[in-house]
Amino acid sequence: MGINSDGGDTASITPNIASGRISAQQESDNFADLHPLLTPFQASVEADRCYFCYDAPCMQACPTGIDVALFIRQISTGNTTGAAATILHENIMGGMCARVCPTETLCEQVCVRNDKEGEPVQIGRLQRYATDHLMASGKKVFERPDDSGKTVAVIGGGPAGLSCAHGLARRGHNVTILEAREKPGGLNEYGIATYKTVDNFAQREVDYILDIGGIEIQTGQRLGQDFTLDDVRAKYDAVFLAIGMGGVNALGLAGEDADGVEDAVDYIAELRQAEDRRQLKVGQRVLVIGGGMTAVDIAVQSKLLGAEEVTMVYRRGQQQMNASTYEQELAQTRGVNIRTWAAPQDLQMTDGKLTGMTFARTRLDNDGRLVVTKDTFSLPADVVFKAIGQKLVSEPLTGGASAVALEGGRISVDPERRTSLADVWAGGDCVVNGEDLTVAAVEDGKVAARSIDTFLQQGA
């Protein structure tokens, strides 16, 4: 153990992991909608702030290229249905993206209103206003044309897979989604923080997407376990891989399997699926290792579930965190501590149970490389969440006749999202340059669907 320069006496704490830390009222308040739906009046006022820019920067910044200026103008003229159609034509998950996109680093960051006012048009909330209106109305935006007779297997029912499936279905093709989990939706259903997508929105959006027809979903179908890539290539005219990143990066420390050391993504999935969130076990002192969105999501939700002290610990500074400034502030205003420039060193155990963790202070050397110093400190903890990134489970893609070329541990694709195999496309988090954003995954699916459609027509 190094110099215990601050922090508590980690050996002396008694692990305290318990459920029922919050009242039913607190539970309902804490997990309420983070950004409630704008009222018609609020939407009208906000829409009027849009300047309808030429070649609008927001549209350029959107990974799916939504015509933001047009849809906002449609809202301001009372044509909310048309606004939603404008959104969905570029981004079939416009509803979820309106909730989870880091708009502060995308469309809203480049809004020209920032320049003089420092307040962009609230594009995300207007997008939600339009798409929620459409979904509530039950109106259809897309009509499925005549059956093309072509079949496509989409492996993975997350944002990329659903986007591709819809893109293919609206061109008349027949899609089978093979989904490993019990429900489709991927990270929309199992990943994102609860307060960003309340009222079962992820499933409602899936239902809206599937409503076009021509898409069949088979759940409980895991690639490499229940079927192989060879199987689907033999059976379908084309394949889209949207398998996400099923593996979680490890800390590489002794005791990582001990009680109290958990994967953040697993806990978030459990939280999202919980019938009664108050029954979930929560630590009294929680440490979160990592600086991305998942780290923020688990840190904030631990706090909302009643943890007394929650600290995010990150190896570098706040500026280097993947979580945006907005997300960091969200964490801090919910009472999460953020500690930076600290690398995990040791997990402390007492009787096989976690009691704390030791970190080494880090800094950058003159060449900008991270240096782990010998200066250490310890923090008490009953629970440590690992949120230092996920990885592709590549085994099902590397063996046999259907080996897919990888690059840096992810699937290599060209700009049309074609893999090294002529009849296989890929998109979402599992591909190289995947941005870990729902909106980027939707774009991958959309682009791939176009390319697959061209391929299928040529093959006809």
Binding site: S44, V45, D48, Y51, F52, C53, Y54, D55, A56, P57, V112, R113, D115, K116
Partner: protein
């Protein structure tokens, strides 16, 4: 310290802000509240003969809204006072006695015969009112009965009625003009010919303010039907100011006192009307939207502006802009401006570019050296002002005069001389320059 006292036809008021004849001046309670709030005068809502008229029991007003429900234009289908004449006269008398320093002018509308006017004028005079305003303007309802704008649209009637009134009362007579005519100078000349002391304008403009697309009927809608109403509010101000200016610069009516009306909502509007020749102003819509308290802003705004500019009395700026109202043909064709975009203020919305590119002269870039950047190309710019109007940042785009060199668009040297259309070689009727 600026002195806002006004003297219009000998009618004195502590400031030049009167409430126009309309719902805000319908009764004693309203007018008393207005005077308490600080209004300089009122024109009492139009009196007619008994039996009094009746109003519909449905909506009387319609509106055009801008962003965030700000009111751009307003219309009404209300008629003249729907109370007995005697009650109105009693109340006018009481108000004038209680507020001797304020102007109380009474608006009148009776049938177009001398006996009717001869009958009502002494009754009004007996209240102690300061003057009368002849309502020849209302375009809805009453006009169907041969009154209001039905009179105001016929200069001969205006002259005739004005003369009757001057004959039967010692009070100053103001003729209120309708804008629902082709050339406002003719009714104004008629009023002057009839010896009226002043004109006031504009009354409201014939309008359908909207269509209810479910009922397929004009708004405001009464039981599935709608009739045209009188349009007013900020949207009509430019129309009103032009009409005021036309009368002020017409050699036949130049010098005829004018009471300016039409969309006056703040001090600047009032000052603008007055520089175009209005001796005072009348306000209605703004008060109907915000209440009487706006007079505080009107008074203080005008006072502050006068102090800043060194005006001590309002007559020092009344009509000040009239000499600069010109016919198009006399505008200087040798005056050349180019738009300039201040890059430090530019927020890069691109509206100037697309407006110019799509609808004008293709004179603004959208990229410079591969970067999003909006710059004016002087060799295409005609100085039309569209870019400055579309720009959301005030002062970002300005029109700068070229005072030397060659206009890169026309390749003609910038001349310091004045030249107009009357002598231009392209003008078939040009008079050769000596």
């Amino acid at each position: 310290m600026a002195d806002l006292r006004a003297d219009f036809l000998g009618i004195k008021s502590p400031n030049p802000f009167w409430l126009a004849s309309a719902p805000p001046t319908d009764r004693e309670v309203n007018v008393t509240r207005a005077f308490k709030a600080g209004w300089g005068g009122v024109v009492w809502k139009t009196l007619g003969l008994d039996p009094h008229v009746v109003n519909i029991n449905g909506p009387r007003y319609g509106a055009i809204h801008g962003s965030d429900r700000s009111l751009a234009g307003f219309n009404n289908i209300e008629l003249i006072s729907d109370r007995p004449l005697g009650i109105n006269l009693q109340e006018i008398k009481a108000v004038k006695q209680a507020w001797p320093d304020r102007a109380v002018v009474v608006s009148l509308m009776v049938p177009c015969d001398e006996a009717s006017w001869q009958g009502i004028l002494p009754l009004v005079e007996a209240t102690g009112a300061d003057g009368v305003e002849l309502n020849f303007g209302c375009p809805h309802g009453m006009s169907e009965r041969g009154m209001g704008s039905a009179v105001g649209q016929v200069p001969e009637y205006i002259e005739m009625v004005a003369r009757w009134c001057k004959k039967h009362t010692r009070m100053p007579v103001i003729v209120k003009l309708t804008p629902n005519i082709t050339d406002v100078r003719f009714p104004a000349r008629a009023a002057k010919a009839g010896a009226a002391d002043a004109v006031s304008l504009i009354n409201t403009i014939n309008s359908i303010v909207g269509v209810d697309l479910d009922q397929m009927a004009p708004m405001p809608t009464t039981d599935g039907k709608g009739s045209h109403g009188g349009y007013c509010g900020p949207a009509v101000k430019p129309i009103a100011m032009n009409m005021v200016a036309e009368i002020a610069r017409d050699p036949e009516t130049h010098g005829l006192p004018i009471s300016g009306i039409g969309g006056i909502s703040q001090w600047r509007d009032a000052v603008e009307f007055m520089t175009l020749g209005a001796g005072n102003v009348q306000v209605c819509t703004a008060a109907m939207v915000y209440g009487f308290k706006i007079v505080e802003e009107l008074v203080d705004g005008m006072k502050t502006w006068m102090d800043d500019k060194g005006y001590e009395r309002i007559d020092q700026f009344v009509g000040a802009a009239v000499p600069n109202i010109s016919d198009w043909q006399h505008l200087n064709l040798n005056y050349v401006v180019k738009a300039k975009i201040n890059q430090d203020l530019c927020i890069k919305c691109g509206r100037c570019h697309i407006a110019c590119e799509d609808t004008s002269h293709q004179a603004i870039t959208h990229t410079v050296n591969g970067e999003r950047r909006f710059e004016v190309m002087d060799d295409e710019c005609v100085g039309c002002n569209l870019c400055a109007i579309t720009c959301p940042v005030e002062g970002c785009i300005t029109l700068e005069q070229m005072t030397a060199g060659v206009d890169p668009r026309t390749k003609l040297p910038i001349s310091g001389t004045y030249a107009n259309w009357t002598t231009h070689p392209n003008n078939p009727q040009a008079v050769p320059v000596e």
